[in-house]
């Protein structure tokens, strides 16, 4: 039911872990529904995401979308990260089963939540 890419990102997830003293952290989802994603960002002086890590509680698709989303925003500006859509994450994974599309939405929301957290901590930042 999963594409090879999903299985690849599920079995060898990229960017797993956490960043101590991260510049921005976003957590979305809830345990009751079976998915929680947390994304940690390190942002350099130019507003570029220099480091990104994630931790996810969830199914295969939740882990794979977290992995892919972090790959897609690494080295990008905050503005570019905010423009990431769930459709783009799903497409980069060669598609997701319809019932799993909400996982890609969660990944998009986790990225947005992490950027918003950064903005809150750095009100001087301009995107």
């Amino acid at each position: 039911m999963y594409s090879e890419k999903v299985m690849d990102h599920f079995s060898n997830p990229r960017n797993v872990g956490e960043i101590e003293n991260a510049d921005g952290v976003g957590t979305v989802g809830n345990a009751k529904c079976g998915d929680i994603m947390r994304i940690y960002l390190k942002v350099d002086d130019n507003g570029v995401i220099s480091e990104v890590k994630f931790k996810t509680f969830g199914c295969g698709a939740a882990i794979a979308t977290s992995s892919m989303a972090t790959e897609m925003i690494k080295g990008k500006t905050l503005k570019e990260a905010l423009a990431l859509t769930n459709a783009a994450v799903a497409e980069a994974l060669d598609g997701l089963p319809p019932v799993k599309m909400h996982c890609s939405l969660l990944a998009e929301e986790a990225v947005k939540a992490a950027v918003e957290d950064y903005m809150k901590k750095h009100p001087e930042a301009v995107i």
Binding site: Y2, M7, F10, S11, P13, V16, G17, E18, T27, A31, K32, C33, G34, D35, I36, M37, R38, F54, K55, T56, F57, G58, C59, G60, A61, A62, I63, V99, K100
Partner: protein
């Protein structure tokens, strides 16, 4: 290492000896069992031999055995057939919250037809209390349907006690014994049930064939209308090869049951003991009143589908009651009924053994699974937060 199959509660491999008995009925003996010629009579003979084998296994009369297309049809027939033929007497049916969907969804449909259903709760081990059954009986009660053993958590139900209560109150009693055949002794006289469902593919028989035992004298509307097969109670040209397979499989499954199950439950206990040693892993279901092949644990802080996929990559087939595997937003109704919060129910893992399971397989699973759990926990924010809070 070959792939390890620990999902025998979902389905089992057809035993080679069963397959061998079935094969002639696809080609050489392909007759329609209703035909008068000798080709038909050969098929009829095989059909009646299988009926005798089932009757011997259940301790009933051969004419009380009705072949169906599987457990689901048998459950549907028992419930709908009883409901509609006893409508004049009453409209109330008692069942439990942990039945298979073949029962629960049929009950939900019956509710729409005007029947009243009581879904009895279970205790934390998944056990129905016979006193609750008795208390739920009222004048309008026409049927009690309680499973013999649960498919997810393996809890064996006190069906003989429930059978006694049903008799005392003159209410019909059906039991879904799909998971129980070959796993625990099933004697319809000892249980005192009026109807019982079973399915061949759960005990090394083929898929697509099952039985509804209907005690002589029990009135039941037909589910399938058509020809006069199965003494005019269940139309459709008989699936002779499948039925031959069911007969052979039930005979094998109920032979040397004690010896066979002693070995399987020893393997089960090794898995349960070792897995529950892992911190924040709990056993679901009853420790002793449990099917010999059933292991069901909840692994906190991880999600069941991820666990299954990782196990599959390691060559092990299991199953889970997480929402992601149930095809809905909620985790298994059985795990919720025993009182598990959603987040713990999402992390459930069922490993189900059979005659074909080996010590080597158990050793391999125990050498692999703890590492997978560690790995998934290491990427779980829930585990992260929990451990932080413990400090």
């Amino acid at each position: 290492m070959d792939r390890i199959y620990m999902d025998n509660a979902a389905t089992t491999a057809v035993h080679p000896a069963v397959l061998e008995k079935m094969l002639p009925y696809f080609t050489a003996c392909y007759g329609n069992a209703s035909s008068i010629h000798s080709t038909g009579r050969d098929a009829r003979k095989a059909l009646e031999e299988a009926r005798r084998q089932v009757a011997a296994a259940l301790n009933c009369k051969p004419q009380e055995v009705y072949f169906t297309s599987g457990g689901t049809e048998a459950d549907n027939w028992a419930l709908k057939g009883t409901a509609f033929s006893h409508r004049a007497k009453g409209n109330h049916i008692i069942t439990s919250a942990i039945e298979h969907h073949a029962i629960l969804h049929t009950c939900e449909w019956l509710e729409k037809q005007g029947f009243e259903i009581t879904y009895l709760p279970v205790d934390e081990y998944g056990m129905v209390n016979p006193a609750d059954v008795e208390a739920a009986i009222k004048d309008s009660t026409i049927l009690i349907s309680i499973m013999a053993a649960n498919n997810e958590i393996g809890t064996i139900q006190p069906i003989a006690e429930i059978g006694q209560i049903a008799r005392a109150h003159k209410v019909l009693f059906h039991t879904d014994a799909v998971q129980a055949i070959g796993a625990i002794p099933i004697d319809v006289q000892a249980i005192g049930c009026d109807m019982l469902s079973l399915s061949a593919h759960k005990f090394h028989g083929p898929k697509g064939v099952g039985v509804l035992f209907v005690r002589q004298g029990v009135r039941l509307d037909n589910l399938l209308h058509g020809g006069a097969q199965e003494r005019a109670r269940r139309a459709t040209t008989e699936n002779v090869a499948g039925i031959v397979g069911l007969g052979a499989a039930i005979e094998m499954a109920t032979a040397n049951m004690q010896e066979k199950n002693a070995r399987i439950s020893a393997l089960r206990d090794q898995l349960i003991d070792a897995l529950t040693q892992i911190p924040y892993v709990r056993l679901n279901g009853h420790r002793t009143q449990r099917l010999p092949g059933n292991v069901n644990v909840s692994v906190r802080f991880v999600e069941g589908e991820a666990l299954l996929l990782r196990l599959d990559l390691a060559g092990v087939a299991g199953s889970s009651g997480s929402a992601c595997t149930s095809g809905s937003l909620d985790p298994s109704h059985v795990l919720l009924a025993i009182g598990l919060p959603h987040e713990i129910a999402h992390g459930s893992l069922r490993l189900s053994l059979s005659d074909t399971s080996t010590q080597e397989e158990v050793d391999y699973v125990l050498s692999t699974l703890p590492g997978i759990i560690d790995d998934l926990r290491s990427m779980s924010p829930l585990y992260n937060d929990f451990m932080e809070a413990q400090k």
